[in-house]
Symmetry: C4
Subunit: 239 residues, 4 copies
């Protein structure tokens, strides 16, 4: 993790810029939080969102611990330096900040989004023993950055959940090293972390992956596909 | 049930305060009702919400019987004293008021919320014979007050439904005595009662428990997980 | 069907009253249509809604054929007399008007609502051979007019669908005669008809029945309840 | 494909008309996009919408590649001539434009809508081997243009997905020739294309088909219908 060798000395006019960038970024994340809340992806104050608003000196805007993601306000965000410390605030950043910083460092991400849906909770459990979930063949995959065809195999690694966040964050780096093409990972029975070069990319990745988790989850339910009596009135087909 | 030994004599300026507390509390519960209605958790005028607005003298604000929870107004609330009688109104409180008062007395709750979702209706039935439902291992559990790890086992007791509400309320106390760490209980084929020290806590508990009921419910559906043909195109995985 | 023996001669001031009643009723049904559309219960211009705005002379306000239920305006309603003819309009009422008039005549209903949900489409098919669906034991049943306990058995008759609406309407009367306590019936692979003394009653019945259809539908899906391996992490319970 | 033999010379006042038609059409498609986004049918910038705003000279308004369908603005649309080239813009139309033009040419459609739901993704996969999906017996089918009875058999052809869009578009024509009565087709693991003489028709077809895909999908899940123990408390019925 070597985000910047620049000293984090901030000048007065940089602070003004940082303030307007904070306001703009907060507005974007407030809006995204409302959408996620309507979708049921951030219930119970779960989830956290971050965006890099300056690379040099490094500054990350991230939601505070325990904020209601459907009802965020500017006061619910912290600015964080490359060492994971709050800038212009004495508040302690949430432990998950370390996971965000690891993803940014490993993947060069400009935004990291953590959501907590029913679909990701279930799939992260069902596929935990395999260490991951592979999704391929769906057109929706093309919305992931750099993917040009539905004939793509997206591997979503699954990590065991852990309350020791530094230990968990230390697992994230090697996982991303083993999966340099990954756009996301799952924490078991916990939820999704995804990211992107821009916040728009990261938001698109959330939508795409949550969609695909629902598709894969529903696809695994037992169907009477081989049972002609189930087909009555519905899906009988003679070409 | 020994909520207060203070005589419930209310002074004029206390009434002014009580009025503004009622207005503020009503606004919070109106907003929560709209959210629950959008989620389908209070259809058919089901559910009821309460918040303690004064401990001494004790005063509970509670929704009136039959109010439409998606479209509440200030007139849909009653103020109740420690004996379960309406203050400043001749209206009869709903029978469920006794359940709210029992929870407040037993758990020291500041707010009690009763919702009526599809998930809680189904799970309260499926697990009724066991007398309860245990949920453990999910990160979402950490949002329950006082829970510090996903490695927590939350027991949600299930009581048989009963139209004799005093008799039902009389069962609630002993159930809570047996489960002093519970954050909620279910009434069979009826719905959820949860609570919190603050209204924000209770609202968070509703979101968390409804989320977990959906997770547990979907987790119990038959899947073709052992059937490789079901895996085509979706979830095949070779590490 | 003997709605009124009064001649339908309407005086000038009665027209003014009727206009304001039409406007008020339209506003209520416009709002209900928006709710139903959000729920996915009136897709594809399906469904129709009516309310009696005058008993003598009889006048029914009903949605016109083909109106978009999520985006109704005052122009999307017709006024109908006891013979099923439009008042103050040369437009032809929809064929379904006959079903509404039969329900009003048989049940003394003040409002009739027809919705078209996924749940009612499926359940009306699954239980068609039995001629009906019985739902009992759910607290939500208490929201049906006149039902005082969850220990109630609500029979929802199911009629075969028919494009010959007069023939279908002619089946509705005898069905309601055989089920004088019914609050609703289903048309097979088509949807729900429910009603109430007031529009608020009928709206509540829609919410309650759609809720219960979802409960019953999900309750019939195969679960691994007997399979302890399915219980891991989720619902194991030792009292 | 022989959309028009008219030369596409456009006069100044025609441009004014075209501008107001563009603005009006954009407003309609912006609103439809918001609805589809709320339904989860256009996640991840998937989907595309078009409407013919002039037949001679031919002019099609279509969404640009990569636009967020829940948040469209006038700048997210292109005008296209009969050769698939942008009018009044140097931007390259999306590859899918060829599919829209083929449908318009083959079916005389005035609007084409492509959505990307969970239901259509799953069903297009489950029934791909048969080359299509037949749906019959549902009242909702009557909302499809020209369908007069629920006793209708709607065949929805399924094409294999392909990133070579000209090759895919070349398959669409023969498929529509073989199914002259079709209102839609599916791309495997991709989504729905439907159309109509007017945009209102096409929008109605989206709602109807997405509804029916959910019905057919849920209808194929294993149920314990033959198992009396599953019926307890729910659906037991004695006529």
């Amino acid at each position: 993790m070597n985000l910047s060798t620049q000293p984090s000395v901030i000048q007065a006019d940089e602070l003004v810029d940082a303030d307007s960038r904070l306001t703009e970024t907060a507005a974007q994340l407030i809006s995204f939080g409302q959408f996620c809340y309507q979708q049921g992806w951030v219930f119970g104050t779960s989830g956290n969102f971050s965006k890099v608003i300056s690379k040099e000196p490094f500054c990350l805007v991230i939601t505070k611990r325990g904020a209601h993601k459907g009802n965020l306000s500017v006061g619910d965000f912290l600015q964080i330096n490359q060492d994971g410390e709050a800038i212009q605030s004495k508040e302690q950043p949430s432990a998950e900040t370390g996971i965000h910083l690891t993803i940014i460092s490993e993947c060069g991400a400009g935004a990291v989004l953590h959501t907590h849906s029913i679909g990701s909770t279930l799939l992260s459990d069902w596929h935990a023993r395999s260490g991951g979930l592979a999704i391929h063949g769906y057109e929706m995959l093309k919305g992931l950055a750099g993917v040009a065809s539905h004939d793509h195999r997206e591997v979503v690694p699954i990590l065991e959940n852990d309350q020791d966040i530094p230990r968990l964050a230390a697992c994230v780096g090697p996982t991303l090293d083993r999966h340099p093409d990954a756009h996301a990972f799952l924490l078991r029975r916990h939820g999704l972390y995804t990211w992107g070069e821009t916040l728009a990319d990261a938001e698109r990745h959330v939508e795409i992956l949550e969609f695909l988790f629902e598709v894969v989850g529903r696809n695994s339910l037992d169907r009477g596909a081989a049972d002609p009596s189930r087909m009555q009135g519905g899906v009988a087909w003679r070409s």
